[in-house]
């Protein structure tokens, strides 16, 4: 997306004593083609002076007022000059201004004004660990406050719509500004979107941060307390943007009762987290019982979500047995959620895994071949994916970045080293080129085989009725010449789980006419493997929708 196509966007760089990196950042910002405004927040070094003649505008504050104040001043200037949106870039060189075009592209694709966040991709070695922890904690609180699962709530690389931003009742002026804007914008109905961007942290000695550990942490705590408190009040929020279909947290429901219900749910979640931290996994499992039984007795929606699968799996069960099946299905899901939270929150928590069919995988790796790990939303699939380091080859998860935000949130948590990278399936080629390159290097790519995307599919028999399965994985495998390993996770005990190879498929295309037949054959094998799995673990199916009508 050419920046010249966005004539009404102003790029703002708030700066406080980052003189060393500032000129370079300004130069690359100017190179994007956008007009640049530097807001000098009372810098006492000569950073801003070095910008003379570079071609950017500068606003000076006589004394330091805070990043938030600087951004708002930039926004007001942008409004005065008639700009529709602003893009904020940090002055410490953390962001690559080239990524700005990703934000502009997303904005151009959006139907109305929205905030776009540049989510910093998970980093390899240059991340200071304090940042990582701070970020996931921040993401967690924002999620509780406004219901949105955002990848990187602390990222300073953002696009804001000027008019809407200035309408928000913002009170924070320092580092807490960026969190407050997100939450209040979400409440006001402004859609918030994310794009993945790169980040560069300079080596330890060079990094300057003005984040004052004590003061700013106190500020953030006060902010979150205020926001959580506001969240609990059963009063609707003032909407600035009326219809926001992608953020329908409360847009269709304005009844008092619904709001109270949401608040109670939120309270429930936080109590759960608290119990988990204080009393551990077993007590939390115990707490699940009354919660889930109540849910099942009171909510018709649950039965609609679990019914289609359970009716097919247990066609001969009576109504009473069906209720028990639903309980067991939802309880097992609840335990998996507790596990995920537990692994994230509690320091030495871990699960023991068993890998069945390991020799087959090792043989493939020994042959220098890559492979596709085709898996499904069964068992503790997320924790399983996070435990693939035993493979000793790089593993890449092909995921749609936004939709897998829950998975990403989990993988962000904790000091655990991330054992794989995510290939964004939202790019122009669906991530396929990167996946093919990884496979050719002998690496592994995990793909979810039970969620239809816009791509090609096969319709095959699954538990007695025809269902559609995506088949792009097999085409990819056939072109690159690698096997597809059908690999499913299952929870087998309180602290145990297994990963098993249920089948291995070797797609190979002969003539073009037979493509669909071959793909259907592969999908049939996947459906059969799933059926075999569900015979052993019938309650660990977590696709809570009608799988047979898509």
């Amino acid at each position: 997306m050419n920046a010249a196509n966005s004539p009404n966007v102003l790029l703002i760089i708030p700066v406080y004593n980052h003189g060393r990196t500032l000129p370079a950042v300004v130069r690359s910002a100017l190179a994007t083609g956008l007009p640049v405004l530097v807001v000098d927040d009372g810098s006492t070094d000569d950073g801003p002076a070095a910008l003379a003649g570079l071609g950017c505008k500068i606003i000076h504050f006589p004394e330091n007022k805070g990043k938030g104040a600087a951004i708002l001043a930039g926004a007001r200037e942008a409004e005065r000059l008639g700009y529709r949106a602003i893009v904020t870039v940090d002055a410490d060189g953390q962001h690559a201004p080239e990524d700005v075009h990703l934000l502009l592209q997303k904005d151009a694709d959006s139907p109305g004004p929205s905030i776009i966040i540049g989510a910093r991709r998970m980093i390899q070695d240059t991340v200071p660990t304090a940042s990582l922890f701070g970020r996931s904690f921040s993401n967690f609180w924002v999620r509780l406050e406004c219901g949105l699962d955002l990848a990187d709530t602390q990222s300073g690389l953002r696009l804001y719509p000027v008019k809407e931003l200035l309408q928000l009742k913002l009170s924070r002026t320092r580092y807490d500004f960026e969190i407050e804007t997100l939450v209040r914008a979400a409440w006001a109905g402004i859609p918030i979107q994310t794009v993945a961007v790169s980040v560069h942290y300079p080596p330890a000695g060079e990094r300057i941060s003005h984040f004052h550990k004590l003061k700013d942490n106190i500020r953030l705590t006060m902010l979150h307390t205020t926001l959580v408190g506001r969240r609990l009040l059963p009063l609707p929020h003032k909407r600035i943007v009326q219809t926001s279909p992608s953020n329908a947290t409360e847009s269709q429901h304005t009844g008092r009762l619904w709001i109270i219900k949401k608040r109670l749910e939120f309270l429930g979640h936080s109590i759960f987290y608290l119990v988990l931290r204080l009393f551990g996994q077993t007590v939390s499992y115990g707490l699940l019982f009354p919660v889930i039984i109540t849910y099942i007795l009171c909510s018709r929606k649950i039965h609609r979500l679990t019914g289609p699968y359970l009716e097919r799996r247990f066609p001969l069960h009576s109504r009473g047995q069906r209720w028990i099946d639903t309980c067991r299905n939802v309880l097992s899901f609840g335990r998996i959620l507790v596990d995920r939270a537990w692994l994230g929150c509690v320091r030495h928590a871990s699960l023991a895994n068993e890998v069945i069919g390991r020799e087959k995988i090792d043989a493939i790796i020994a042959a220098g071949k890559g492979a596709i790990l085709l898996t499904a939303h069964v068992g503790n699939w997320q924790t399983a994916l996070a435990n693939l380091h035993f493979l000793k080859v790089p593993v890449h998860a092909l995921m749609q970045y936004d939709q897998q935000s829950a998975a990403r949130h989990y993988f962000d948590l904790g000091e655990r080293q991330r054992t794989f990278s995510i290939i964004n399936a939202d790019g122009p080629f669906g991530g396929m080129i990167e996946a093919a390159a990884a496979l050719q290097r002998g690496e592994f790519v995990t793909i979810m085989g039970d969620r239809l995307t816009r791509g090609p599919s096969s319709t095959v028999d699954f538990i007695g009725k025809m269902a559609r399965f995506p088949n792009a994985a097999y085409t990819l495998a056939a072109h690159v010449g690698v096997p597809v390993i059908i690999f499913l996770a299952a929870k087998t005990g309180r602290k145990n789980f297994q990963l098993q190879v249920w089948d291995i498929v070797y797609p190979h295309f002969e003539s073009r006419e037979s493509h669909q037949k071959i793909l259907d054959g592969c999908s049939q094998k996947f459906a059969e493997a799933l059926e075999k799995y569900l015979k052993v673990f019938p309650y660990q199916w977590y696709n809570f929708f009608n799988f047979w009508i898509q």
Partner: protein, 88 residues
């Protein structure tokens, strides 16, 4: 360069089996993906593998893909540039 483009057209028609287009009609500046020839992401993978096979040139991510696959012309230019890098 002309041989290169000719070979690319052959690959597109014969290996990828693009329907409804004859060799003579293949324009060299038509976009290969979405509008234009309408190839999709799985065709992209096939094309990447074929280009490796015939020209020993690699395309490793979507940025290179976007650049190379804009049209037959850009693909030919991409391949030629990479071949010269490999040789040098």
């Amino acid at each position: 360069m002309e041989n290169l483009k000719q070979k690319l057209k052959e690959i597109l028609i014969q290996d990828l089996k693009i329907q409804g287009v004859r060799m003579e009609d293949l324009q060299e500046d038509t976009p290969l993906f979405n509008e234009g020839l309408g190839l999709d992401s799985l065709d992209a993978v096939e094309l990447v593998v074929l280009i490796q096979k015939y020209f020993n040139v690699q395309i490793v991510d979507m940025d290179e893909g976007r650049q190379a696959f804009a049209s037959i012309n850009s693909l030919a230019a991409f391949i030629k540039e990479r071949q010269e890098c490999n040789a040098g």
